[in-house]
Subunit: 214 residues, 2 copies
Amino acid sequence: MRAIIIANGDCDNPKQLAALFRADDFVIAVDGGARHCETLSAYPDLLIGDFDSLDKPILKHFVADDVKMLCYPRHKDQIDLELAVDHAIAEGATEIAIITAMGGRWDMTLANLFLLTQEKYAMFELYLTDTVQRGQVIRAGSAVTLTVKAGGRFSLIPLLGDATGISANDLEYPLANHTLSLGSTKGLSNRTLADAITIELQQGLVYACYEIGD
Amino acid sequence: MRAIIIANGDCDNPKQLAALFRADDFVIAVDGGARHCETLSAYPDLLIGDFDSLDKPILKHFVADDVKMLCYPRHKDQIDLELAVDHAIAEGATEIAIITAMGGRWDMTLANLFLLTQEKYAMFELYLTDTVQRGQVIRAGSAVTLTVKAGGRFSLIPLLGDATGISANDLEYPLANHTLSLGSTKGLSNRTLADAITIELQQGLVYACYEIGD
């Protein structure tokens, strides 16, 4: 099952984003992210959060509509997005697409990105996406095949100090047992030469950002 | 000397952002970031980039105005923002404020953030800022005092695996020899109780995002 999680960042290109949804997606709206549901014509199966960042009228609308809600205390150890991903997994999702996760507060944008690094999510297909690009974590010891847009931008950003033993073909600048150090921007703005790219990583943790096809 | 670097991200609240500039700032516009100069009423001392993301008419305008330009080849190992920070330092800047660094491409947003982690910048006051919030790196073995907005949000995000020995007073949830692990969101959305916060960090690397005063 695929879950789509609507986070509380900016919602650019809502029309194209709305086209992502399939009838059988399990849709979770996260706190203030619920404000995007109307623009996206998305009906949430579940609303999660402490609801400190959702306008009251929108909240009332969902209450009147009998949408299932999980209300958490404001002071808690996890951000609402983490609770949402955990619930998606508990509902049986193996693929989890997070949308509208960037923009607004920088700390939340960064936290949303770093959430993907948590070891408990290693077994799931978890990614941030919009209509143009996708971001996901590549872990040490893995070989991951990504579906990309041929000719699109393809960037690798090391997250946990040096990332070593990076290999990937079908790129404008192919990588063979390559090393990227933290803060290095050498992995940015490569180009894909095919519509699927396999990346191997021996050590470290890498964030892959890449353009997706139509 | 303070340098302000205008990066190629989104430019929200240009009026308030324009108020940041002082007459004696050394202003660098980075490639497509030069498009923000007019809205910000900012006149760059230097334009840096490969100019692949700047509209031709804007480029021509700066050429006609005889603005100093450093044009780099498109295929290079650094992103334009790194070249800009290096030049600011070479010009004698000890404080470097980067604005309009987020939004648009996720890989560039992340790369801009991670650029701050580079060891060569450890001796400089280097931060990302807008009119509401500021982001900077706290390094192991340091005690840094940040000027914040009393009552504002204050978040710490570990960047390099576990960050240990974090201490800070004058927070709603004070930290005493605290540990934050990668992907953990426990350091998010604390609140400041004073207008200056001193953070100590023993091991790791932490990104501090905090609200700034008016």
